[in-house]
Subunit: 416 residues, 2 copies
């Protein structure tokens, strides 16, 4: 099949030709399509059964226009492939916590998946102080399962190395490597920051210890192929409601350090915490929601740590360290101690990568909407200054962290 | 071209058909071939010009017989491809320190390369206490250049990630992962050790701290894709004479931790040091040669560290940390401090991987000839016991090492 760009008319015919969707819609259904993408890189359509709007799908297609400008087109196509592969693996590892993939077609660069009709992007309701009581449990399961099942603890060495070949993803990775770990901390024209925190930004860019710590973080991000990570797991990549949570948009996925994904989730929640100095003038309301966020952060880490440990104990299938290795007098305790140290290392790496991401959002190419939507520059500066302080301390004090409480103590100290 | 197995007759015709060798032999030369391989996995032929024996090449061909037994044949073919790729890259990075590749033919699974007529495998003359005054300089250049030029410090992120696709090498890597880092320390039928050191072997297998340290070392070996490493750089993979040094047989090559290659070299030299308790009964002779080995080990590390640092300063071309990142008041010192810590980390990782390799040679599937050729079990036990003690301490005391002298102090203490 040759590629052609879909539109709201042809997409309804197209989906009927896909074998994987044969039974999805009733044979005589009238399908209606809406285009909802932002048109930057992909078309995104909702295709719905006119008689039953819950009977619907999302169709994502790489944009064809980029063919004209040449080199970018393969990148855009590959992006859809990376997203599909990661969605499938994540759904397999953590069922029901990402949209289900129904179909992928390489020739047409289409990904067809579950339509999340009842969910909203997390970032926005959090600015409105909405609470999601099941979120900590859901996201800690997503993290524990996707990271464990794609690591050497579960996959055999040969499985993992062959599977890694599918995730070279060299172009999107370069974006993250440069825009998270290098460019924000040096003179680079795309950088953008609030002039009211210029002193704090300048101090970061001239702090030798911090620069060395960030360079080390970049080295780890670039070279430590621990597990298939989402690699862009901010609250704009989470769709949810009170009952259900889904992680979307994993096109940056590659084999990297586990702490990066965990750090992204925790750091985005804390950025939201800080944003309420701008969004929520009422002190009692603000403090109540901020307390909820810190409880959520603690519950995510502690939930992750417990679930990851249990998965490991119960599914020690990979080549990393076979059960037999621990068969000696005291071996059970040694295995427990090894797991404890492994997870403590993940905590500290969560601090390192999360800490770097605090900084990059304050002085790099792009902030987060939670913060950037605070119109009053002075109020925004309060949040930004705290974010810079917390990020710097997470990076510099990582070796002293033994529990999530140590990391949260810094959040409290810098906002107290 | 369909595959056919070469023999001493057909190989002389075959090499004349290879375009890359067009000008290598005179047109009217009479070529003579000898088969010199051990016949396990490959044919190895020397093909020589009968009128000028210095005009000669080595032809390596994957064995065809394995076709019969099925699955192993692709492995054997891939092995020749990995060896060729690594030899080419290593020669490019460190010219003249490995055999030059003349030709590779995928269909025929042949690798044709420089014939090292004047060199011997390092392990054997070292048992005879032969000295190689230029070796430390040569091998430290090989290590510094091959590791630096294939790391993120020199390659761009995209170059490195695309190039890594050529080195999945999942089957040979599994051999190293299991036989270096896991199997020797647990009940595994292929393990083999001197009954006279059974107590020391048992102690290692039951030492919780040591087992945790080795599990950590395996994790690093498996996941840290720092540079293209040789991954089997013992003194059996080095051919040399007083003037010239070449590193051969890199079929295990993959992107792994730099410390593994450095550790392999240093640890093999020290195993030879220990072997002289068996091979060299004369105390003065033994001590003189042992002193030479320790000087060589120190010179290799110090040479590596200085050369790596200089390469980095002068060729900071990769995406790791661009020069601009260090452009601030005190930035030059910060960059120097970052390099210092990076190289100190390499020293400690050299201790970790080298330490593990001491242990695996004493209690795993295969020893080294230096040690195994000591016929007197009691004398061999002296060397083996020291090797186990040194390896254990390199693993357990790594955080205290600030220079190669700290590692060598342990060698002296355990043999004093």
């Amino acid at each position: 099949m040759d590629y052609y760009p879909l539109d709201t008319t042809t997409v309804t015919e197209y989906v009927k030709t896909r074998p994987a969707l044969k039974d999805f819609f009733p044979e005589d259904a009238t399908l209606v399509a809406r285009e909802v993408g932002d048109g930057n890189l992909n078309f995104v359509f909702f295709v719905e059964n006119a008689d039953d709007l819950t009977n619907s799908i999302v169709v994502k297609q790489a944009l064809p226009y980029l063919r004209v400008i040449g080199e970018s087109w393969p990148l855009t196509q590959e992006r859809v492939r990376y997203e599909t592969q990661a969605l499938r693996k994540q759904y397999e590892a953590a069922p029901g916590l990402s949209p289900k993939v129904y179909d992928y077609n390489d020739e047409m660069s289409t990904l067809i998946m579950e339509h999340l009709r009842e969910h909203e992007i997390m970032r926005f309701p959090m600015v409105a102080r909405k609470r999601f009581p099941k979120f900590a449990d859901h996201i800690s399961t997503f993290l524990a399962n996707t990271l464990f099942y794609t690591s050497d603890l579960y996959m055999t060495g040969e499985e993992k190395k062959k599977y890694m070949e599918l995730f070279t993803n060299e172009e999107l990775r370069k974006l993250q490597e440069d825009f998270v770990y290098t460019n924000p901390y040096m003179d680079s024209e795309e950088n953008n920051w609030n002039p009211l925190v210029d002193d704090a930004v300048t101090a970061v860019r001239q702090n030798a210890e911090l620069k060395i710590a960030i360079a080390e973080a970049k080295r780890a991000y670039t070279t430590h192929a621990e597990a298939l990570i989402h690699a862009d797991l901010h609250t704009g990549s989470i769709m949810l409601n009170e009952e259900d949570t889904r992680v979307i948009d994993p096109e940056f996925a590659f084999f990297g350090p586990m702490g990066y994904d965990i750090g992204a989730v925790l750091q985005n929640l804390i950025l939201n915490y800080l944003s309420h100095y701008g969004h929520t003038p009422d002190k009692a309301e603000r403090e109540s929601y901020q307390a909820y966020i810190l409880e959520t952060v603690a519950a995510i880490w502690n939930g992750f740590a417990a679930k990851f440990d249990t998965l490991w104990k119960e599914n020690n299938r990979g080549d990393a360290v076979p059960a037999k290795y621990w068969e000696f007098e005291g071996g059970e305790e040694a295995f427990a101690e090894y797991r404890r140290r492994y997870i403590l290392r993940l905590l500290r790496e969560t601090a390192v990568h999360g800490g770097t991401k605090f900084l990059r959002r304050m002085m790099g190419i792009v902030s987060v909407w939670d913060i950037s939507s605070i119109e009053d520059e002075e109020k925004r500066a309060v949040a930004e200054r705290a974010a810079i302080a917390i990020g710097s301390r997470w990076l510099l004090e990582k070796e002293s962290f033994n529990s999530i409480d140590d990391m949260l103590a810094i959040v409290k100290e810098e906002t107290g």
